[in-house]
């Protein structure tokens, strides 16, 4: 009843081809974006903006990148954090070495560096599949972090290999406060998410899904697997690279290559598994789940258990609860949180007459 597209007629091709063809979807998405762009900066305090919302947005973008590769094109990757590192160090070096480099151009160039590296490490995907490909992308993870430590040029000869980012200045406006940084992150993430939503229903996205579902059949119907897979690697790494640049510039301010380790890659992989592979929205839900739940637990568990047990137990207990909740959600809904939302939508469509 609430969610029904009956009566929404498309009279033109343009209307038929818009990103959100169902009116309710469109309204909901714009309301959400408007809420996060106009209301949240007013009601949220510094802590929420700096420590909660910015990282959730950035990790959503990284998860989105991995989701394009793994969820849509079916290529398992364990190198997402490394591609983030390429984006971060790339943007840093463009800002450092070219005078008057605009920030937005620098992060795009950082993303393009990541895309190039991604294509390079995507080459094995033409021959190997599944878990074996995951092992090959693992090489990217270790090689890139090693290279960033090994060659001091990347970190501008800093003795410890740590880079500290320049100030963000776009058209004379300095993005130095938490609100402005949040808005900048939000803008980049919204634009890239809409682009991804659009891309996955274009011929490129359909080709990805064809390759994912059965690559031999895809080849038979005329999809070139090499081109399709490498585009998936390029786009995915571009997203991860931009996420990495934002991670360095709008979130942490200083990053070291070791920060982009295998743990982070796994975390991003878990985000799409929990959120839902092959879903744009799932990337956001998964990122929110993985980033927010441990913080939530750390806020509540100590005050609940507090003085009863030792501090080490409290810390370990949070991890146990976190793990248990992941298992719970995967048992209840193996296709991720996005699938729960989809079921919810179907229920809303039928309600109140389920038959």
């Amino acid at each position: 009843m609430f969610y029904r597209e009956a009566g929404q007629f498309k009279a033109s091709y343009q209307a038929d081809q818009q990103i959100f063809p169902i009116r309710q979807d469109k309204i909901a998405v714009w309301a959400l974006v408007l809420f996060f762009a106009a209301v949240v900066p007013v009601i949220a305090d510094q802590y929420w903006l700096k420590a909660i919302l910015i990282p959730v947005l950035i990790f959503s973008l990284a998860a989105l990148g991995l989701n394009i590769l793994t969820g849509y094109a079916g290529q398992l990757s364990l190198g997402s954090a490394a591609f983030m590192a390429v984006g971060a160090f790339g943007a840093y070096n463009f800002m450092l070495r070219i005078d008057g480099m605009p920030f937005l151009v620098a992060i795009v160039l950082g993303g393009l560096c990541a895309a190039a590296v991604g294509v390079l490490f995507g080459l094995p995907s033409l021959r190997i599949k599944g878990f074996y490909l995951a092992v090959a992308t693992l090489a990217a993870q270790f090689f890139i972090v090693w290279a960033l430590v090994k060659f001091p040029w990347f970190s501008n000869y800093s003795s410890s290999g740590v880079i500290s980012t320049q100030e963000i200045n776009i058209l004379g406006f300095a993005f130095d406060g938490p609100t402005s940084k949040y808005m900048l992150t939000l803008a980049v993430v919204v634009i890239l998410a809409l682009a991804a939503k659009n891309m996955v229903r274009s011929s490129t996205g359909r080709a990805w899904m064809a390759v994912r579902d059965m690559d031999v059949a895809a080849e038979v119907i005329g999809i070139r697997p090499m081109r399709t897979k490498l585009i998936a690697f390029a786009v995915s790494s571009f997203y991860c690279g931009v996420a990495g640049a934002l991670y360095a510039y709008t979130y942490l301010g200083t990053v070291e290559p070791e920060g982009f380790n295998l743990d982070l890659s796994f975390k991003i992989l878990f985000m799409i598994i929990i959120g839902g592979t092959g879903s744009i929205m799932g990337s956001f839900l998964g990122a929110a789940f993985i980033v927010l739940l441990p913080i939530l637990l750390d806020n509540f568990v100590p005050s609940l258990l507090g003085d009863l047990v030792s501090a080490s137990f409290v810390s370990n207990f949070q991890l146990i609860v976190f793990g248990a909740m992941i298992i719970f959600f995967l048992i209840v809904e193996p296709h991720g949180l996005a699938r729960l939302w989809q079921i919810g939508k179907e229920k809303l469509r039928l309600w109140p007459f389920p038959h």
Binding site: Y47, V149, S159, S160, G161, A311, S312, S315, N316
Partner: protein
């Protein structure tokens, strides 16, 4: 109705209690601890000891100058992003906000380096973090106290010189540097190259990839090169592995000198008998035979309020290092209260003044029962390091035995490097260094 009354009464009592509670001043200290994850063994002792020390001050003296110390832990898992979240979460807690941030993680230190200056919260990094922050003119809010990695490297070379009978004897010697291949391990390169050029010895740099539980090829290289000494610049599982591999290779452990992150019980006990004879530097010593540790046992553990689950870890290297964090925090509060008045909570800015004017001479150390426990130190606007001295301890198979008195570093050389690096940072960031002659 009755229920409503009870609730109202309860609320009133709670309100009264809260009111009277808040009237006594409290100094809030945020603790970004890590008790899970790969470094939990270190984290639980470092933060547990720090809490124990503050608990002891509260129990024995009723706080500092009538101000009770209160704290809250926030689990970082030694992860930079979580560390930033903790920093932001703890920032505004307590009466005056968080008054000092000590992450005990180099990664988190870098992540909040610029934030602390904006938020006016002093950051103290004892034995880790950014070395060139010792130049207080460029980094007013960061205090890499007691000693830094570069001072330590220089101290180790001075110790080798002492063992050889003079710095001139180092000429032509070979020193192996077995380091953790990360930002932390690479911190040793520049200083070792400088020292090698100055004293005429040769440095053989041998990287060990993280985590370092496989060191066959590295020790083969050491066997071929036959260095006179090997400096172990390790972390975590790399340390016991190095000691065991040395035993297998037949390299004398007496010729191996560890840095302070290689010289704790957690590093030697897993290596078993292979660790015997291994020497390590440290800016604090192990042992319980110090008045302040005795006080912790008396006022905290005897009352069952200790933070350590395993009481036998009290007096270990990591534990005592955590106590150093506690001492420096408490003494800075004391110093700042002298200027800004007792009996009320200090702000971050006032605490920063306290840290910058910290002067812990022999008399001061004796008064807090820490003679020989940590080196004397004096912080100033120019020098945020304060000491740069280390002691060397040897593992006798069951415990650490102190070998030397405080060994100093090559101050002028280290200071030159610090100033050069800090100046480069100031230039990159467009910071105008403070004029220390104008600082009060």
């Amino acid at each position: 109705m009755k229920l409503k009354k009870t609730v109202l009464l309860g609320a009133t009592i709670a309100g009264l209690l809260a009111g009277s509670y808040a009237s006594a001043a409290e100094q809030f200290i945020g603790l970004p601890s890590y008790r899970v994850g790969p470094y939990a063994a270190g984290g639980s002792a470092l933060f547990g000891a720090w809490i124990d020390y503050m608990q002891m001050i509260n129990e024995r003296d009723g706080g500092v100058g009538g101000v009770k110390l209160v704290w809250e832990e926030c689990e970082t898992e030694y992860n930079n992003a979580r560390g930033v979240e903790c920093y932001e979460r703890l920032k505004n807690k307590g009466e005056t906000g968080n008054s000092v941030f000590q992450p005990i993680s180099t990664g988190i230190t870098y992540s909040v380096l610029e934030k602390v200056a904006q938020d006016k919260i002093p950051m103290v990094t004892i034995g880790y973090g950014r070395t060139d922050a010792a130049d207080g003119r460029v980094f007013p809010w960061v205090f890499p106290m007691v000693t830094t990695y570069w001072s330590q490297a220089s101290g180790i070379v001075n110790y080798i010189g002492m063992k050889e009978g003079g710095m001139d004897k180092l000429k032509g010697k070979k020193i192996g540097l077995l380091y953790h291949d990360s930002a932390y391990g690479k911190e040793s390169h520049a200083i070792m190259d400088k020292l090698a050029a100055k004293h005429g010895f040769e440095v053989i740099k041998i990287p060990v990839a993280h985590p370092g539980n496989e060191q066959q090829s590295q020790w083969l290289q050491i066997r071929q090169a036959r260095p006179d000494y090997v400096i172990l610049w390790g972390w975590g599982v790399m340390n016991p592995t190095a000691l065991k591999s040395a035993a297998k290779t037949g390299y004398p452990r007496e010729k191996m000198i560890g840095v302070w992150w290689s010289g704790a019980e957690e590093d030697t006990i897993p290596a078993g008998s292979a660790a015997k004879g291994f020497t390590a530097a440290g800016f604090n010593v192990a042992g319980t035979n110090y008045p302040l540790i005795k006080d912790i046992e008396k006022y905290v553990y005897a009352k069952g309020k200790g933070n350590m689950e395993d009481k036998s870890r009290v007096g270990g290297v990591y534990y005592n290092r955590g106590v150093v964090s506690g001492i420096i925090t408490v003494e800075a509060i004391r110093k700042a209260q002298e200027k800004f008045g007792k009996g009320k909570a200090l702000t971050g800015e006032q605490m920063r003044w306290g840290f910058e004017h910290l002067d812990m001479d022999a008399k001061h150390l004796a008064s807090i029962g820490a003679t020989g426990f940590m080196p004397e130190m004096k912080i100033s606007c120019l020098d945020h390091e304060g000491s740069g001295k280390v002691k060397f301890q040897q593992w006798d198979g069951s415990k650490w035995k102190v070998l030397t008195d405080w060994v100093d570093s090559d101050k002028p050389l280290v200071r030159d490097m610090i100033e050069e690096s800090a100046a480069a940072y100031a230039k990159e960031k467009g910071i105008t260094p403070r004029d220390c002659s104008k600082e009060m």
